[in-house]
């Protein structure tokens, strides 16, 4: 066994996050292994999106630690001071993770294809012809090869989100973070996005998915994490959690949702 198998892909320990006086995360710990698909569910305001955003440094944490693939992004020492790694390390570590947002955040001034090849060219320094075959493969994978010359404003929400997924994959991430990827979509468009995410799961991509789609969580996730009030109340295999939620708040939440 290579030694990398020992460390989880994501290892968050006792993560605390405050916005001004409001404590949004009150000591969240979670380890995600390679190939795992973890769904994070919970009521709005429970801190699940914030937790996801802490993992790739879109938010800075106030206490605790985060390792990505065994490398320290941030740690809190014995002196209780929370320290981030140097900026260059943060950038390198965060590049292992791709992220898909609720509101897509596609670049409106670039075509679908340009959206996908922008980061490989600008960040990785690849030539256009080096990334083009991969970009086309990704577009075919998400079923949008015929839209490559379109601008994002000409696409439906579901198409936009699939482009966003392809754009993230173009950087070859080891981990994909999804922040409510279907919450901004019309109900009839969520299916196509969830199908794409499911295909990634079948390819054993390590994923952390914040979602309100219970059916999707039950079907695709290997493990489901229930968060409420800035804490993880329950983290168990999907089937178990949905069949027999242990925590009364999980039970109440699921009864509301289903």
């Amino acid at each position: 066994m290579p030694s990398t198998m020992a460390s989880p892909m994501i290892h968050a320990r006792d993560v605390h996050k405050r916005f001004a006086a409001v404590e949004v995360l009150k000591g969240v710990s979670l380890a995600v292994d390679k190939g795992e698909v973890v769904a994070v569910i919970g009521p709005s305001g429970s801190g699940k999106s914030t937790f996801l955003r802490c993992l790739n440094h879109l938010e800075t944490i106030n206490r605790g630690g985060i390792d990505i693939e065994g490398e320290t992004l941030v740690a809190t020492g014995a002196d209780a001071v929370c320290r981030y790694s140097p900026d260059a390390d943060i950038r390198r570590i965060c590049r292992k993770m791709g992220m898909v947002f609720q509101h897509f955040n596609l670049f409106p001034h670039l075509t679908v294809l340009q959206n996908i090849i922008e980061a490989p060219i600008t960040v990785k320094g690849l030539r256009r012809d080096e990334i083009l075959p991969k970009a086309e493969k990704l577009l075919r994978k998400v079923g949008l090869l015929d839209k490559q010359a379109s601008y994002p404003s000409r696409l439906s929400g579901g198409q936009k989100q699939r482009v966003a997924i392809a754009r993230a994959l173009a950087m070859d991430p080891d981990i994909m973070l999804f922040d409510e990827p279907t919450s901004a979509l019309d109900p009839e468009l969520t299916g196509e996005v969830l199908r794409t995410i499911r295909e990634l799961a079948e390819e054993h991509m390590t994923m952390l998915v914040v979602t309100h789609e219970m059916a999707f969580a039950r079907e695709v996730a290997s493990r489901v994490v229930f968060m409420d009030g800035g804490e993880i109340l329950e983290a168990r295999p999907a089937k178990e959690l949905f069949a027999a939620p242990e925590h009364p708040r999980t039970r109440a939440f699921l009864e509301n949702m289903l």
Binding site: N56, L58, R91, C94, R95, M97, G98, M99, F101, H103, F104, N105, L106, F107, P108, H109, E118, A119, T122, V123, K124, Y151, P152, S153, R167, A168, M171
Partner: protein, 217 residues
């Protein structure tokens, strides 16, 4: 008609001066304005405050006063005092003044870009300068075209202020003929010249707006 043709030569010469002042000022003021805007929105509080003060000064005093100051008073200012000939003095005044206005246009444009664009770029690994250059500023350019068009046309007309430095621009050339010949025809011709120049700019900006209309947002 013969008279109009007769006065053409000095008016065209004056137009040449007007265009030179306009073009050089524009080409220098736009990048300076962009730099000022980027400093203004940066997290360097002291620099940002200085730029803020600079913009207040430049927008809060008449352009004509600034021009007179640079030409007549600057030579007597300690340390930075230099005596500039009329043409460079006019350019410096226009650049310093217009950069302040352009800076505010750029700032408004940059701040109108959604946070999600920065986050989208960041999670793909783009640095802040890369995000600015590749993602934010190209979108800013589209959004600021209408106010930039306004300001640019104003600059063409403001060049007539250089008469206070006794430079022979289009308006001063026209006035000279009016005073010599006791007829206001040269003013009408000068107005036509200004209209042609601003029309070209208007069409140019409209062309850019159409070009950028290929995408929404």
């Amino acid at each position: 008609m013969d008279y109009v043709i007769e006065i053409m030569a000095p008016l065209i010469e004056g137009t040449g001066v007007t265009l030179q002042v306009f073009l050089i000022s524009f080409v220098l003021a736009v990048p300076l304005g962009l730099v000022l805007a980027l400093v203004r929105i940066s997290r360097f509080v002291v620099l940002s405050g200085l730029v803020n003060g600079y913009i207040w000064l430049m927008r809060g005093t008449p352009l004509m006063l600034q021009m007179l100051f640079i030409y007549f008073a600057l030579p007597f200012v300690p340390v930075i005092g230099v005596r500039l000939p009329d043409f460079p003095a006019a350019i410096v005044a226009f650049v310093l003044n217009y950069a302040a206005y352009f800076a505010e246009i750029f700032r408004a444009g940059i701040q109108s870009i959604d946070r999600g664009q920065y986050e989208g770029a960041r999670v793909l690994g783009l640095s802040y300068p890369q995000t600015m250059r590749r993602i934010v500023l190209p979108q800013v350019l589209k959004r600021i075209l209408p106010p930039m068009s306004n300001e640019t046309i104003t600059l063409v007309k403001d060049t007539s202020l250089i008469y206070v430095l006794a430079m022979n621009d289009l308006l001063r050339a026209a006035r000279g003929i009016v005073q010599r010949d006791f007829t206001t025809t040269p003013f009408v011709v000068a107005a036509a010249f200004y209209l042609v120049m601003t029309l070209v700019l208007t069409l140019g900006f409209q062309h850019l707006e159409r070009k950028y209309a290929v995408y929404d947002g």
